[in-house]
């Protein structure tokens, strides 16, 4: 299965990979609790603390990936660098949300990466260190799709179920609102490296691995 290396073919395979990822996420104990009304404030704090370390790494692997893109692909390099700049302070928002729930700043800052976060981070930096790491566009699809599609949905559930004020759920709600313009941008980035059969394969593979490891990270939270 999976023929074709045009932008639309890759987007289709990425959409399937995302559906697979969403099923994996929905099956994790934490998200199951959230969607079935059994989510607690402790669960939310654990979620924020576990997410922070990996979110902080996001802009870092993106920068590293940019530094491994050759001069034939300067436009993609520029875009990744700009993207990294936009996102590299996002983890501060997570910290502020955590504090707004009544948690201590030192606790979230001192939290360790869980097993899934370790695997996810190691994978991202490994991929970003390869020459022309175009496969990472697949990772961006998964992680940004999460922001575009799931974050707002989760944010509203957390807010409503726990009766929290907006300022305690900004990271999730903010992503739900802001990532909607990224889709068109993402298509343009794909068009910078496609059509190319090997690149297409790598993008889809990287998306699937990233999705599985991301779900592992969520699975490891308070499970």
């Amino acid at each position: 299965m999976g023929e074709g290396a045009e932008v639309s073919d890759v987007l289709r395979r990425l959409a399937v990979a995302f559906a697979e990822f969403e099923a994996q996420l929905d099956g994790t104990p934490l998200i199951r609790k959230l969607t079935r009304g059994r989510f607690t404030l402790e669960d939310y704090r654990a979620f924020l603390a576990n997410l922070r370390q990996q979110v902080k790494d996001g802009a870092l692997w993106m920068s590293r990936a940019a530094s491994h893109i050759d001069e034939d692909h300067l436009e993609l390099r520029s875009r990744l660098m700009r993207h990294a700049v936009t996102e590299h302070r996002d983890f501060r928002l997570l910290e502020a949300d955590y504090v707004a729930t009544g948690g201590a700043l030192a606790d979230i800052q001192g939290a360790e990466k869980n097993i899934g976060s370790e695997a996810l981070s190691a994978w991202m930096f490994h991929e970003a260190s390869r020459p022309n790491p175009f496969g990472l566009l697949g990772a961006m699809w998964i992680i940004e799709g999460l922001g575009r599609i799931k974050a707002g949905e989760w944010g509203r559930l957390v807010r409503d179920r726990l009766g929290l004020p907006e300022e305690a759920v900004r990271f999730l709600l903010y992503h739900g609102e802001n990532d909607t313009t990224h889709m068109a941008e993402f298509e343009e980035m794909l068009a910078l490296v496609l059509p190319d059969a090997a690149v297409a394969e790598r993008i889809v593979k990287t998306a699937r691995v990233t999705g599985r490891l991301y779900a592992l990270q969520i699975e490891e939270i308070g499970a």
Binding site: M1, E3, A15, V16, F18, A19, E22, D26, T35, L157
Partner: protein, 378 residues
């Protein structure tokens, strides 16, 4: 392995009760919960894009037909369309969301209404997708050579579940007499009616028949809680031990466990999962959008269609809108009966040409299922 024979749809029939009912009169037929106009009704109709629909209830709320009776009428019409009579049937598969009886199955009720001689029957109970389950059974019955004439029918009498007595005095209505959105929305989403097809191992001698290329059904229930359901209160709808019969019918009714309900937030997730299944079929080459000449997609709301279209366009999964056929605006969403009522109306347009392919897609939000049926005009 024995070779399976091909099977062809040689007749289609529909039965819509009464005259079309316009938007303004719909609630007259359903009745007003606690005497109040619905809060959501108008918005739901705008969202659904439904202009008229049929009810098996008259303007005073009295039943004019039964679910089984409407199905029997549709089966007769399909048999007549095929140039046959009900006495020619060997197998009858019947589908519905909720039949007239709790027990026995819907197919027995339809057979009873047909009043014909001994038959093999099979009952399928789910939501919209039960139609495709029944079609698959009828198709297989013909393919294996067990029956020379098989019918698949589907019918709904949803409106009786939307009568005020289903809601008044239950946890679904607040102190001011306002009905919860999860219940009220469906009151303006679903219609009554029935449809049927007849399948045979050879095309009809005159006119067009539809060769069934495949019927695929994919359930994602392992991944989702019920999204549209009856038989459990909202809060505990995923727990089979919390379903209605454990507390007895009166307590279950008071808890709002008997009414038909829909979870909108979950529906959005389910829609993405349906699109995922479809794109997987495209990716695997099972569905080739460029080779589909007509698309009959069962969807309950015009606005849902918009959300899906942009994703399909970007992923080369789209079948151009000019190839879509729908009668949602005039008959509404008739649940399991929709796909046959739509197919029957499509065939009557005379648009179909020999050699063309018709793709039928039937998503069911119940617990996240989607059915596909590819037909080829011969």
């Amino acid at each position: 392995m024995t070779q399976l024979a091909d099977a062809y749809i040689t007749g289609a029939g529909a039965f819509l009760p009464g005259e079309p009912v316009g938007r303004a009169a719909m609630e007259d037929h359903l009745g007003r919960v606690c005497g109040r106009d619905s809060l959501l009704g108008r918005r739901a109709l705008k969202w659904n894009g439904v202009e008229t629909r049929h009810y098996a209830l008259d303007a005073e709320g009295r039943a004019t037909h039964s679910n089984a009776g409407m199905c029997a009428q549709a089966v007769r019409a399909a048999a007549t369309d095929a140039g046959l009579g009900v006495e020619d049937l060997g197998f009858l598969a019947a589908a519905t969301t909720q039949g007239d009886w709790l027990v026995p199955g819907h197919a027995a009720a339809v057979h009873g209404e047909l009043g014909c001689g001994p038959l093999e029957i099979a009952s399928f109970q789910s939501v919209c997708g039960s139609s495709i389950m029944a079609a698959k059974a009828a198709w297989q019955a013909v393919r294996t050579g067990e029956h020379a004439v098989a019918a698949a029918c589907a019918g709904e009498f949803s409106s009786r579940w939307f009568r005020p007595s289903f809601f008044e005095g239950t946890a679904l209505v607040d102190a001011k007499g306002r009905l919860r959105g999860e219940a009220d929305y469906l009151r303006f989403t679903l219609s009554d009616g029935a449809g049927a097809v007849v399948l045979e191992p050879a095309p009809r001698p005159d006119g067009l028949s539809l060769k069934v290329a495949f019927i695929d059904i994919v359930s994602l229930a392992g991944q989702f809680e019920p999204c549209m359901w009856a038989g459990a209160p909202l809060e505990v709808r995923g727990d089979p031990l919390a379903t209605w019969s454990f507390s007895g019918p009166q307590a279950a009714h008071a808890a709002g466990a008997v009414a038909l309900l829909q979870d909108f937030d979950l529906l959005k997730r389910v829609i993405r999962a349906w699109v995922g299944v479809y794109l997987q079929k495209v990716d695997a080459g099972r569905i080739r959008p460029a080779e589909v000449d007509h698309l009959l997609c069962h969807y309950s709301a015009k606005s849902l269609r918009g959300e899906i279209v942009s994703l399909l366009e970007k992923t080369a999964g789209m079948i151009p809108e000019a190839k879509w056929f729908s009668n949602l605006a005039s008959v509404g969403n008739i649940g399991s009966a929709s796909i046959w009522v739509m197919l029957e109306a499509f065939l009557r347009t005379g648009r179909l040409r020999r050699g063309e392919r018709v793709l039928c897609v039937v998503p069911e939000s119940g617990r996240a299922l989607v059915g596909f049926m590819l037909l080829e005009a011969v």
